[in-house]
Amino acid sequence: MIRFMMRKAPSVVFVLFASSIVAFALPRLAPGDVAVSLAGTDPTPANVAAIRGELGLDRSPVVQYWDWISGLFHGDLGQSYRLHRSVASLIGDRLESTVELAVFATLLVIVAGTVLGVLAGSTRRRWTRVTFDLGNSFLVATPAFLTALALILIFGVYHRWLPVSGEVSVLENPAIGIQYLTLPAVALALSPSGIVARLLQTEMTRVRNEDYVDLALAKGASAKRITLRHVLRNSFGTAVVSIGLEIGTLLAGAVIIESIFNRNGLGQLAVSSVQSRDFTVLQVLILGVVFVAVICQIVTEMVLATLDPRIRLGDQS
């Protein structure tokens, strides 16, 4: 496993380095001088120079980049100059909301995707299959925000069963918190679970034609045992990969979903920091998204490697 990780390390480091450069470059690419805009309505040259010195903008970009990155490694995420608070505390305040949403949605993707995929992959009746395929295409094709709009109209406005705006912490008040969490998480999870289900179904159909399934049948294994033990177990690989990849999409989708349901999470923080041009906050958030996506990818590959020794040992042939 360690050798496997070592082989993956260079590309991971490259992607993280490149995205840190992009994040670092953002405010420097934007038109206008950050120091001037921070100096207020009537900036004097001395004022601007003072702010520039305080932000370290008068030094070379390489030194600034080094300061920023080494700060990140020491846990110093910087200061928001609009809100006059540390970026770490801003993120800390909103982390729980986004983590709750992401975790709940991911669980839904895993459960719904697996169940739908196994059901669709086990049936051989034509009409059941057609129904599953149609429903699945619908799930896959509908983006999270459209699902969200439909859910709001049906369950929030027409039936008034669930709240559509705001949030309550699940940790503090689980009963109410789950109600606030349900619609956003379902909206976020439906399309990825369709993708996972479809992959699982295709893979199960393929595996079912393998010789060892025929052998198990000849041995007299029950249909249930064949599905669970011989087919499903050998089909999980692709589903695991797609779940890992979907988490990145899920995080990006959370930005829209938080905005639609008025949840005060990291996505909302990102949007408001774009609107107020609060770059120190935005840089950390962007790097954070890429970091989490990369971590998910690595974990996915580790799970795969555990499942399949051919990947772990590398294809030397």
């Binding site: 992607v15 934007a30 983006p143 925000f145 929030g156 406005v157 829209i256 935005l282 996506a293």
Partner: protein, 293 residues
């Protein structure tokens, strides 16, 4: 339009095929399949409405009426918004923004992606290097790329355009590059090089046709995603700025009044669905036409 059996194309189709470039004729044959016809009709109506908007509704999208936030009626089939403006008229004008984005950014993205993918022909080092740049773009999921661009440029048409343009580059680039990598070692390509066929002709005649189908289908798929990118960024408030309407902006505004006037978001929502269904059907039809041989 009459249904021409696919196995035996009619006389007009045969005549067209004689004159047209066969690749182009194959793509055009997509528009004779049922999906292609339906998709093209939906998009045709939407494009026509968008183009004719100033003629059909010379009052513009900003005309205010006496009522506010009323539901659909015979006079205003989508209802009116918070300023008493007709939501149907605003949706039609909104289409102009969406279609102008997608119909310019996507073709440009596919063309540019193809060039980047083929750049390996100039120097292997350049091709591989540009591929790494595309890898970084993939690392930023669609919306995050948009957020970065809006942060740099400020909200408006241009960052949306660039998000759709840049986001489409990696796939087209990979498809073109893989065609170059697989074909460059083939005997006939080597033979053509030995014979002194210029590099440009080599790429256009021998390499590009291998990637063209995948890139065209991918372009149609990316048009659907383009619709979603515009809507997604506008819903969070990072799209075109009011009073200019786009489909996403209308959804954003409608969401604010969803409890008072739930019908507000339905009209723009339907237009968005029509757009995405139209482009999806088109990409399905192209995919079918390309794989039918």
């Amino acid at each position: 339009m009459t249904d021409v059996p696919l196995s035996a194309p009619g006389a007009t189709a045969a005549k067209a095929r004689r004159r047209l470039n066969p690749t182009l004729a194959r793509y055009l044959s997509a528009f004779r399949t049922p999906r292609g016809v339906v998709g093209l009709s939906i998009l045709g109506v939407l494009v026509l409405a968008a183009l004719l908007a100033p003629v059909l509704f010379p009052g513009g999208y900003d005309q205010q009426g006496p009522n506010a936030l009323t539901g659909p009626s015979a006079q205003h089939i989508f209802g009116v918004d918070e300023f008493g403006r007709d939501i149907f008229i605003r949706s039609v004008y909104g289409l102009r923004v969406d279609l102008s984005l997608i119909l310019t950014a996507v073709p440009l993205s596919m063309a540019l992606g193809t060039l980047i993918g083929l750049s390996g022909a100039i120097s292997e080092w350049l091709g591989a290097g540009l591929q790494r740049v595309l890898d970084v773009i993939i690392g930023f999921p669609g919306l995050i790329l948009g957020v970065c661009l809006v942060a740099i440029l400020g909200p408006g048409w241009l960052p949306l355009f660039l998000t759709i343009l840049l986001g489409g580059l990696p796939t087209a680039g990979r498809q073109a590059r893989s065609a170059w990598l697989t074909q460059q070692g083939r005997e006939y390509v080597l033979a053509a090089r030995v014979l002194g066929v210029p590099r440009r002709q080599l790429l256009v005649r021998h390499v590009l046709p291998n990637a063209m189908d995948a890139i065209v289908v991918n372009g149609a798929v990316w048009m659907v995603i383009g619709v979603y990118i515009e809507a997604g960024l506008s819903i969070v408030g990072l799209g075109v700025q009011p009073p200019t309407p786009s489909i996403g902006v209308l959804l954003n505004n409608g969401l604010r009044f969803v409890t008072q006037a739930p019908t507000y978001i339905i009209g723009p929502g339907v237009v968005l669905l029509l757009l995405s269904v139209g482009f999806s059907l088109l990409s399905d039809a192209l995919n079918e036409a390309v794989n039918r041989r």
